[in-house]
Symmetry: C2
Subunit: 366 residues, 2 copies
C-alpha cells in the first residue's frame, strides 16, 4: 500500500457511493464520506476524466446559497455484459453503471441434449447481439461474467460439474475466444446462485439486509450466501449447495450419492406444504451454521407466493436456537427470473467500482 492506493481507495469509495446512493453534490459526498470538500472535488475531477461520472442538470431548488451541481455515475456510457447458460436457455444482457438493464437477448431451447459446442454457439449469438446493442447505445463495455448452473472454479475457468446440464469437467479457458469477445476482454465465470445473490444484494434485499441467503430454484437448487455485504464463495467456490443438504436420511437416493437431499423433494408435482417443511428443515441448518439476517426465496420458489414464504418462516422459527432473539426473516425475491443474468453483469461492474483506475483517463491538454 502506498499513496496511490489511498487515492484508488478514495476513488472507489466515492464512485461506490454515487452508484449505490444516487447522484448528489460534491458537498454532500464530502459530508457523507467524511472526506473534505477539497479532496472530493479532486476525486470527482479524476472520475470525470475517466468518464465514470458526469455532471447533471440540477434543478435549482429555490434554496438559499449557491446551488449545487449534482454528479452521478455515468450510467449511459459505461456498462458490462452478463451472460448465462441455463438448462433451457442461454441469455446475454448489458447493465450500465447506474444499474439499468439496457438490453437482454435470449435463446430459449433445451441445452441438455445437445453438444456443448451447440450451446456455446447459441451463447455466442446472443452475446454478439447484446454487444452490438451496447455499441449502438454508445455503452463502453468493460467486462463480462458468465453464470453457470454448477460447481465452477473461476480462477481455473473450469466447470467441474453441472448435473442438470450433463456437463462434467469442462475446460472453459477458450470460451472468451469462442464467444468472439475482444482480445484481453476481462471475462470471469461463477455459479448461478452466487450471481443471483449478488443481484439481490445490489438491487433487491441487499438494501435491507446485510447478511442473507438467496435460494435459487432454477433446475437444481442452489444458494448464494452474502455475509456483511460480501459473497461467501468458500475455499474452492463450492459453497451454497443447499440442494444437497440431507433432510430425510431414509429418503430417495439423489444423483449426488446421498439419500433424501432437499433437491429430491423439488419437482413440479411437489406438495407446497411438504416442500415448505423440508425447505425449512434445510434452512434451519443454514441458520444454525451461518446466522444470516434473512432468507430470500428466488426462482420458482418466489412464484409460490407469500403464503409459502410464511409457511417456511413458521417452520423455520419453530426449532431454531437463536430465533427468539433474532428470528431470521423469510422474503420472496422481488427480482425477475433474470437475477443470475443481471448479477453476472453486476459482478463485472463491481470490478470498476472496486478500482476505478482500471478505466483509462481521457484527459487532454487544453
Amino acid at each position: 500500500m502506498d499513496l496511490s492506493d489511498v487515492r484508488r481507495h478514495h476513488l472507489s469509495v466515492v464512485l461506490e457511493h454515487l452508484v449505490r446512493s444516487g447522484p448528489r453534490s460534491r458537498s454532500a459526498i464530502a459530508q457523507e464520506t467524511g472526506l473534505t470538500k477539497a479532496t472530493v472535488s479532486a476525486l470527482i475531477t479524476d472520475l470525470l476524466d475517466r468518464g465514470l461520472v458526469q455532471e447533471l442538470d440540477t434543478p435549482t431548488a429555490g434554496r438559499v446559497g449557491r446551488p449545487a451541481t449534482d454528479v452521478g455515475a455515468a450510467g449511459h456510457s459505461v456498462g458490462a455484459l452478463g451472460l448465462e447458460i441455463d438448462v433451457d436457455e442461454v441469455a446475454a444482457c448489458v447493465v450500465d453503471l447506474a444499474g439499468a438493464v439496457r438490453t437482454v437477448h435470449r435463446h430459449t431451447a433445451g441445452n441438455r441434449d445437445v453438444t456443448a459446442r451447440t450451446v456455446i454457439n447459441r451463447l455466442r449469438d446472443v452475446t454478439q447481439r447484446a454487444m452490438a446493442d451496447a455499441a449502438r447505445m454508445g455503452i463502453d463495455c468493460i467486462g463480462a461474467t458468465l453464470a453457470l448452473p454448477g460447481l465452477v472454479d473461476p480462477q481455473a475457468r473450469t466447470l467441474f460439474v453441472a448435473p442438470n446440464l450433463h456437463w462434467f469437467d469442462a475446460d472453459l479457458r477458450s470460451l472468451a475466444t469462442q464467444l468472439r469477445l475482444p482480445e484481453h476482454f476481462p471475462f470471469t465465470m461463477d455459479n448461478e446462485a452466487n450471481l443471483g445473490a449478488l443481484a439481490e444484494l445490489r438491487h433487491g434485499a441487499g438494501q435491507q439486509f446485510d447478511s442473507f441467503v438467496f435460494v435459487s430454484a432454477a433446475g437444481g437448487l442452489g444458494a448464494g450466501i452474502v455475509l456483511d455485504g460480501r459473497l461467501l464463495r468458500g475455499a474452492h467456490g463450492f459453497a451454497g449447495e443447499l440442494g444437497h443438504v440431507v433432510v430425510e436420511p431414509s429418503g430417495k437416493p439423489c444423483a449426488c450419492g446421498a439419500r433424501g437431499c432437499l433437491e429430491t423433494f423439488l419437482h413440479s408435482d411437489a406438495n407446497p406444504d411438504e416442500l415448505a417443511r423440508h425447505l425449512a428443515d434445510a434452512l434451519r441448518t443454514v441458520v444454525h451454521l451461518i446466522d444470516p439476517d434473512a432468507v430470500v426465496l428466488g426462482g420458482s420458489l418466489a412464484a409460490l407466493g407469500d403464503e409459502f414464504a410464511h409457511a417456511v418462516a413458521d417452520h423455520l422459527h419453530a426449532d431454531t436456537l437463536g430465533a427468539r432473539w433474532h428470528p431470521c426473516a423469510v422474503r420472496r425475491s422481488t427480482l425477475s427470473t433474470d437475477a443470475a443474468l443481471v448479477g453476472a453483469a453486476t459482478a463485472a461492474l463491481d470490478r470498476i467500482i472496486a478500482d476505478p483506475t482500471i478505466v483509462p483517463t481521457r484527459a487532454f491538454a487544453h
Copy 2:
C-alpha cells in the same frame, strides 16, 4: 482514510509479520512485505518506541556483508488475558505477544448448580491470580476476552443462552467491574467455539489451512468457522451451532425443540462408529454450505484418536458433491483442551496487531 491510516496499516502489517513469522531483520521484512527498507526502518523505530518489538542479539552467521540485527515481537513485555467459564471449571491465562502461554490458573468445580455470582467470584479469583503473575513477570496486559459456552452478543455484552450452564439472558455489562479489572480495561466476550477456532488459526491448523471448521466438543457441541483466515461470526454472532444440525429427523427430542440434533448423539456412552457417522452427516452439510479446506476435531473428539478421524473422513467424502475435486481434510486438533482459553487471549492480542497505535509511545527527548 488518510495518511495516518496508511501508517497505522503498515505498522499493523509489520507487527503481524513479526508475530506470525518470527524475528527477522529489517531488510528481510522489507523484502517480504514489499515496503522499502527506509519505510521499514521508520516503522520499526515507531514499534520500538511503543515497546511492541525489540532488537535481538542476532548470531553472526559468518555470512558475507554487514550482519543483520533481528527484531522480534516483544513477547516478554506485552500480553493479554484469556478467561473462560465452562461447565465444570473456570480459568484465566496470560498469553504474550510472541504467542507463549505464560501462566494458567484454573478452578475446577461444577458451575451448573451454583449461582452466577459464585461462578463469577471463582472467575474473579483466577483472574486476579493471573494478573498478579503478569505483573510479577513484567507483562503489560492490554486487554481480556472471555470465552462462554453459549450464544453471545459481544457488542451488547449479553449471554443469550448457555444451555449446559443453565444461564439465560444474562446481562454481563458489569462483569469487568465484578472481576476487578482495571477501569476502562478493554474487555470483550465471545463464544467458546469461535475462540477455539481462533486459537487453532494462530497456533494450530491455521498454519496449513486458510479456511477450516473447528469442531469443539466440550459439554455441548459447537463449531468455529474460519474463512480466508477470518472468523465467521454471523449477523448476530450465532454462527457455528453445529450441535443443532439435525441428522435424524425421527430421533430423540433435543433441548432446543427439534428432534435428532447431532448433540443428542454425543454422550459418554456413545458408540464411536455411530458418532462418526452422525458427525460426518452434519459435516457433509457444513461442507456443502461453507466449502472449507478442512475440519479440525477438537475437545473430546480429538481424544477419540486418528481412527475416529479417518472414519469421519470416509463417511464425509462418500457423498459430498465437491469431494472428488477438493476433498475436505479431517484432522485432530493438536492443541490441548485449553484451545478456547488461549484463543480468548489471542483475540485480545489481535486488537494490538490490528492497530498498534493503541499502545502509547514512550519516546522521550534525548
